[in-house]
């Protein structure tokens, strides 16, 4: 029990530590999303292996209806489809932190993190947008749109 909590704490710290890294400029890795573990964590198969990819710059609820909805939203965008991870950084355990883009002829090219925030299914992370690779306030603008439209997290009454 003690070690389980310790492990959770370690992972939490890891996510906290590296989850704030910006992906401002980076190299892209292309592949197919084979699993959506949560709204901000997917598995990307790049043909020679897989990476666990954490979407940076956003905070999503860990549980509850919004969390489920956000996960469904992401799955609809990328699960089983081609996608692009733009690397921000790599954790010591090999997990990647970066921006995730759709790369699908029907959906087009969308920034999954931005779309989550714009849909009110995630908040922008605390800090300046550029710290997460959004040099022109894109995260703030997307959150403003969601707030003004009272979507998801910003709806007057949250789904139970």
């Amino acid at each position: 029990m003690r070690s389980k909590w310790a492990m959770k704490g370690f992972i939490g710290c890891l996510v906290l530590l590296v989850g704030v890294l910006p992906a401002f400029a980076g190299d892209s890795l292309y592949g197919k999303v084979t699993e959506v573990r949560s709204a901000d964590t997917v598995v990307l198969d790049h043909g020679k292996g897989t990476y666990i990819v954490h979407i940076i710059g956003i905070d999503v609820p860990k549980e509850g209806p919004i969390a489920n909805k956000a996960k469904e939203f992401v799955a609809k965008l990328v699960l089983g489809k081609h996608a692009r991870m733009r690397l921000g950084s790599r954790a010591e355990n090999g997990e990647m932190f970066g921006q995730l883009f759709t790369d699908d002829p029907d959906i087009g090219i969308k920034d999954v993190g931005l779309e989550l925030v714009r849909s009110g299914l995630a908040q922008r992370q605390k800090g300046q947008d550029y710290q997460f690779g959004y040099k022109y306030g894109e995260l703030s603008a997307a959150e403003r749109q969601a707030r003004e439209a009272k979507r998801g997290l910003w709806a007057p009454s949250q789904p139970q």
Binding site: S28, Y30, S89, E92, D103, I109, Q131
Partner: protein, 861 residues
């Protein structure tokens, strides 16, 4: 006290042998940097810099880097990288604010500058889905959008331009793609429409590439596959042999494998990771023995996972179809630490290649880096890289923004660095958080964009003659006759004439090779400076003439005035700070300082020749390859390791090597009296292997004592020069050698370079223009900033009072009163009293004033 030569010889031989044991023949850096320049001086971080040099104007550079906040950091240098100015007060372009500065950028800048003067700027837009290319026809002052490809799942665009083509390669949905266009001249109207998107075969899952255009027009790309692993991976090369023709890129060829994959973490870049960072450079010099050779630089890790990454070079002589094997190791450290983010560039005028990279060799924890560089000549079957040189003044921390503040980390050093190399100067650019320049607004917590001016070596040909090669090896060369001391494939050549000296003994062996032959002296120098032949030699009549040496340009006896002689293309001759001395500036940035002295008792002139920042690597002052003891022969054949027997060394040095580098009637740059030629000055039997050093009808000079020599040479601080001075004074009995060494020492330490730039050209009558004079140390021996004043001149006449230099070594002069027409503006530097720096005069800056068409009045600011 009675002088006892025999005992003295013994003791001095002991001293010299001890010195040999102490100093050995260690190689010193041939490549050297100046003072680091912080291009950005901006808050937050700038990294992943591209840098490029105008192939038609060696003074103009442009740099572009990622910027943490809006846009791309952009700067240009009008003076060869000494100072940097910005196209916009924000120091950015493509910033989403001013549309004239290009569509808003995300990142990944790439640059190309063609011989028409077109500056191509390619980057990824703010949506990270469009590849944007701007065109600047004024060296990076204004911009026009040339092309925009997308939207697509695009990344890592690279642009290149040459041979009448511009090509952009990038990764689209995991596949390398490219587009090319014809270029026929300067400006948008002369850039044709980009052709259809070329999908490069066999490059699925391949990324982090580069592209190059061959002199014959072939287009070659390289990328790393697979791009998603930590390694191993392959570097795939595809060639489009017909350039802009209808044929597609050919099948992928594996140039090499590497254990450095696309996302390999190393201690110095643990989070961002590195890739092999493959890069191309073509030898574009038609005079080079390997014209058209394609060089490939990349990162390798010999043992997978041990973080001992190295910088490797391979080459192809058939546009990428086949590659040399084994690879050439560029870094020369003996550590198991990381070298990473390499960049390669070729000097199109000489065929020399430069490689610069991040190097953690000095970091015990393998987590910090300095920028290192090396240079190789195209001579020989394969390039031999010089001893590596640390270029950056500071040490940068791979953590960059460590300690993290409110989560503001960064992408460490980024995915690549920059390098431009042209006309003798290489300009690496890198992300630096050492704050070695003291002007990073974030101190050591964020990266600024740094650069430096990387030059070839200082070389010297002094005294009896003691040579210091361009890679810092010190050896004696006592041959008699005329020799090529330095040359390159860019047209530079320097020759010296050495005359035998009759002496009674030799005071000791050369610590380099143990030989103690008779001695000679350098008595004349000649050079090819651009299109002109220059000689500085004693009166051709042969009659001793203490009034001075004779300067000739293209065979015409010339008097050097205070303004010097402009030889065009940046070549010139001016007086040096030494009496009767010359500074010869070559178009490729080489500076040769000729310091003569009159040896009254022998009625002879002798010359010290000191050379700085030369890209030339061949000749008797040429580079000595690792494991060798002498520079290579003219055809690139190495002299090999030093033979064991002393006599064999003598034979190799003074017969095989010396004869190979003798000038001929065809190659001689000297002027001769009627009936004389280079043969007149040639004495193949000299130097005799050991004393007595007798010459027919010449009375040997009387030696001086060690005490006298020590006293005379006490001012000479550098160890080699001090020992040389003592040797020369002892063997010749002439304390005057010490004075000449002292002058050379002052030049090596204190020589300066003054440049003048204008803030606008042309201007109109009545319009204000500001001229800025920048004074910088000429060599690398002095890292300080010159102090004193400069006197501006216009068309040879002084204007205003001398202006005091500021803390950056700069002074400005403004005017609105220049008449219509072309004006030659120059500045002369006068050092502060007591300064080690020496006076210098800038080349002329040509400024044009046009008649005003708009009726504006003169003056008024």
């Amino acid at each position: 006290m009675t002088y006892k030569p025999r005992l003295s010889v013994f003791l001095q031989a002991v001293v010299f042998n001890m010195l040999f044991l102490l100093t050995g023949s260690a190689l010193h850096a041939q490549v050297s940097g100046g003072v680091d320049r912080n291009m950005s001086k901006m808050a937050n971080y700038q990294n992943e810099c591209a840098i490029i040099k105008n192939p038609t104007n060696k003074l103009q550079l442009f740099s572009l880097c990622n910027n943490a906040t809006g846009g791309l950091f952009a700067a240009r240098s009008p003076d060869g990288g000494l100072t940097w100015v910005y196209p916009d007060p924000s120091k950015t372009i493509a910033n989403g604010i001013n549309a004239a500065l290009g569509p808003a950028a995300c990142c990944d800048p790439s640059l190309a500058w063609d011989t028409f003067g077109n500056l191509f700027i390619t980057y990824l837009d703010s949506a990270v889905s469009n590849v944007v290319t701007l065109l600047s026809i004024d060296g990076g002052q204004t911009f026009a959008t040339l092309a925009q490809f997308g939207p697509g799942s695009d990344d890592q665009p690279t642009v290149t331009a040459d041979s009448g083509q511009v090509w952009i390669v990038w990764n689209q949905s995991g596949q390398m793609v490219a587009r090319g266009a014809a270029v026929t001249g300067l400006g948008t109207a002369n850039v044709g429409a980009f052709g259809a998107l070329q999908t490069i075969p066999g490059t699925s899952g391949c990324s982090f590439g580069d592209i190059a255009i061959a002199p014959d027009g072939a287009v070659v790309q390289v990328c790393e596959s697979p791009d998603g692993t930590t390694g191993p991976a392959s570097l795939l090369v595809n060639t489009k042999a017909d350039g802009l023709g209808p044929n597609p890129f050919g099948a992928a060829v594996t140039a090499t494998t590497t254990n450095v994959g696309g996302f390999k973490p190393i201690p110095a870049q643990s989070r961002r990771t590195i890739d092999a960072e493959a890069g191309f450079a073509y030898d574009r010099n038609p005079a080079s023995p390997h014209f058209g050779r394609l060089y490939l630089v990349y990162t390798e890790e010999k043992v997978l996972g041990n973080n001992d990454t190295d910088i490797m070079v391979r080459f192809s002589d058939d546009d990428g179809a086949h590659w040399s094997n084994p690879p050439i190791l560029v870094n020369d450290d003996a550590t198991t630490r990381s070298q990473f983010l390499p960049r390669i560039a070729s000097n199109r005028l000489s065929g020399n290649i430069a490689v610069c990279w991040h190097d953690a060799r000095n970091s015990a924890t393998n987590t910090t880096m300095q920028e290192f560089c090396s240079i190789a000549t195209p001579t020989g079957a394969s390039p031999t890289f010089m001893t590596n040189a640390q270029i950056s003044d500071g040490t940068s921390d791979g953590n960059g923004s460590n300690p993290p503040v409110a989560g503001q980390l960064d992408i460490q050093f980024g995915d690549y660095s920059g390098l431009a190399y042209f006309q003798g100067l290489a300009h690496p650019s890198w992300a630096d958080d050492s704050n070695s320049t003291g002007d990073n607004p974030d101190g050591t917590t964020r990266y600024d964009a740094y650069t430096d001016r990387v030059t070839g070596g200082a070389a010297a040909h002094e005294g009896d003659p003691h040579l210091t090669t361009v890679n810092g090896v010190h050896y004696d060369f006592q041959g008699a006759g005329e020799f090529v001391v330095l040359r390159d494939y860019g047209g530079l050549e320097i020759q010296t004439r050495q005359a035998p000296i009759a002496t009674t003994f030799n005071p000791g062996a050369d610590p380099h090779d143990g030989l103690a032959p008779c001695v000679s002296l350098n008595t004349a120098v000649a050079a090819q400076v651009g299109q002109h032949r220059v000689s500085y030699e004693p009166n051709l009549s042969g009659v001793p003439d203490p009034s001075g040496l004779q300067l000739r340009v293209d065979g015409t006896l010339t008097t050097l005035g205070p303004q010097g002689i402009d030889l065009g293309d940046g070549g010139r001759i001016v007086k040096s700070a030494a009496p009767g001395g010359l500074e010869i500036d070559f178009p490729d940035e080489t500076a040769a300082f000729v310091t003569p002295a009159w040896w009254a008792s022998q009625s002879k002139w002798y010359i010290n020749l000191d050379i700085s920042h030369t890209p030339a690597l061949e000749g008797v002052l040429g580079v000595i390859a690792p494991g060798g003891w002498l520079p290579a022969l003219p055809d690139g054949t190495p002299m090999g390791p030093m033979p064991g027997p002393l006599h064999q060394r003598y034979v190799d040095l003074y017969q095989r090597f010396a004869d190979a580098w003798r000038v001929t009637d065809i190659t001689s740059l000297f002027d001769y009296a009627p009936g004389t030629s280079t043969d007149t000055f040639t004495l193949r039997s000299w130097p005799l292997e050991k004393p007595p050093c007798v010459l027919p009808r010449v009375k040997p000079v009387e030696p001086a004592t060690q005490v006298v020599a020590e006293r005379a040479c006490s001012r000479i601080r550098a160890k080699n020069m001090h020992n040389d001075c003592i040797f020369d004074v002892v063997v010749t009995g002439n304390p005057g050698f010490a004075d000449t060494y002292n002058l050379s020492q002052e030049i090596q330490v204190g020589a300066t370079t003054t440049t003048v730039t204008d803030d606008e050209d042309p201007t109109q009558i009545g319009e204000w223009v500001t001229f800025t004079a920048t004074v910088a140390p000429d060599g690398t021996a002095h890292k300080g900033i010159p102090a004193g004043t400069v006197q501006f001149t216009v068309d040879g006449s002084k204007v205003g009072e001398p202006v005091k230099l500021d803390s950056k070594g700069q002074a400005t002069w403004e005017t609105s009163r220049l008449h219509a027409g072309k004006h030659l503006v120059a500045a002369s530097y006068m050092p502060s009293p007591g300064s080690e720096f020496l006076a210098s005069t800038s080349p002329d800056e040509i400024h044009t004033v046009r008649r005003c068409p708009c009726g504006r009045g003169a003056g008024g600011k």
